[in-house]
């Protein structure tokens, strides 16, 4: 009985190992093919953002993240390791430079425009998908870089402190750019203290600016309103 069980178990292990080595063989073949493909299309990958994203999706489907490590052989082959690293630094640059103006909140499209303007002429065009990836790459830095949505407006948040639920809700209400205390009250039914605290907090961090040039004081969100030239 004991011997039988041992024999069975050993047979099982043998089968499993054979299975694993077969799989490894397949992965190697697939990897080689992918490498070859990437090598053949390296120029297109660098110059064509749509194609670049497609290749990345393909990698994802197979379960390979070319950016998983900076030393990753695929990232190197794709030339994307450097691409996203460079883009990440440029994103930090733009976010820091505009922080005093927008409190650390910038619309993705605005960020993209500013990146394009800053990048050397002739370098690869940047699309939203690239920004998302580059920001994901920044996670280990713990800088708080994150993409957040307000209505259908996608923003990059570049400050460590979180927006609380009240602030997020009010910003969601302000997607057209500005709001009054009355807007918040009729829209959300909050009491005056709660609204005031929320708005004061956002004024303090610079996410919101006050406009006293109208009969009723208005609050503006620069990230929603100011477009670069």
């Amino acid at each position: 009985m004991e011997a039988e069980r041992a024999a069975l178990s050993s047979k099982g292990t043998e089968l499993a190992q054979r299975e694993i080595s077969k799989l490894q063989e397949q992965i190697t073949v697939m990897r080689n093919n992918l490498e070859e493909f990437v090598r053949d299309h390296q120029k297109d990958i660098r110059s064509n953002p749509v194609f670049r994203v497609q290749v990345q999706r393909m990698c994802q489907v197979i379960g390979i993240d070319p950016l998983a490590s900076r030393k990753g052989y695929l990232a190197e082959l794709l030339g994307v390791g450097d691409f996203y690293c460079e883009l990440g630094i440029q994103i930090i640059d733009v976010c820091v430079a505009t922080r005093a103006l927008n409190g650390g909140l910038i619309e993705v499209e605005e960020l993209r425009r500013r990146l394009e303007k800053r990048r050397i002429r002739g370098s690869e065009p940047v699309i939203e998908e690239d920004i998302k990836r580059a920001i994901k790459q920044l996670a280990p830095l713990h800088g708080g870089y994150r993409i957040v949505s307000f209505g259908d407006r996608k923003m990059v948040k570049s400050v460590g402190r979180e927006l609380n639920l009240d602030q997020t809700t009010v910003l969601g209400l302000a997607v057209r750019g500005h709001f009054t205390l009355q807007d918040v009250q009729s829209g959300l039914g909050w009491d005056t203290d709660r609204i005031q605290t929320c708005v004061d907090d956002m004024l303090r961090t610079g996410i919101v600016w006050v406009d006293e040039g109208t009969k009723e004081t208005e609050y503006w969100v620069p990230a929603f309103s100011i477009k670069s030239m």
Binding site: L101, W209, V210, D211, G213, W220, P222, K227
Partner: protein, 188 residues
């Protein structure tokens, strides 16, 4: 605002923040205000350079651009403008003139007097007019200076530039019966 200034205003390219209404309200948060003030300082200097203005009477200035934005109907308050000019003064880009305590009039240096001094001295040197006596009027309104940046330069600013040259031993001023009669001799 005279007609030339009005035309110049039309051609001036305002920064994007100029159409952002809160730009005209002093922001309560210190960090935001510092950024706002920095942007206003830049705007004042570039606008005054574009319209070639050198003097500002604050209480009048707020009635027209750049401090009054007709499109969005916003006006910067005089006391806020005063804080902005204070900052320009701190940077050496403006000086208060007139009765000290009123702080209603200032000179805006979109070029520092030292730069004007160097520019004028260079021009005089290039023309071989070292050791010649020129009147201040000839310097800023002469036929030869029409295309120079210091053509039409405000007399107070010009006087500051010439004083600098004099203190460097590069010029000697001769005071006449009026300010327009002021003569100056340049040295190498």
């Amino acid at each position: 605002m005279n007609r030339t200034t009005a035309t110049a205003t039309e051609q001036f390219e305002f920064p994007e923040i100029y159409s952002f209404p809160p730009f005209f309200t002093r922001q309560p948060a210190e960090a935001t205000w510092q950024e706002q003030r920095r942007l206003w300082c830049n705007l004042v200097l570039s606008f005054y350079r574009h319209t070639r203005q050198h003097t500002m009477t604050l209480s009048e200035a707020v009635l027209s651009p750049p401090f009054h934005n007709y499109q969005i109907k916003r006006i910067l308050r005089v006391d806020v403008l005063r804080e902005i000019v204070d900052e320009l003064v701190k940077q050496g880009n403006a000086v208060w003139v007139g009765p000290k305590h009123t702080k209603d009039m200032c000179l805006v240096f979109w070029r520092k007097p030292e730069e004007w001094a160097a520019m004028i001295h260079q021009w005089v040197t290039d023309r071989g007019m070292i050791n010649t006596v020129l009147t201040v009027y000839e310097l800023t309104n002469g036929d030869d200076t029409g295309d120079q940046e210091f053509s039409g330069l405000d007399t107070v600013v010009l006087r500051r530039a010439l004083d600098i040259l004099q203190s460097q031993g590069k010029a000697q001023l001769f005071v006449g019966s009026s300010d327009d009669d002021l003569g100056v001799k340049f040295f190498a």
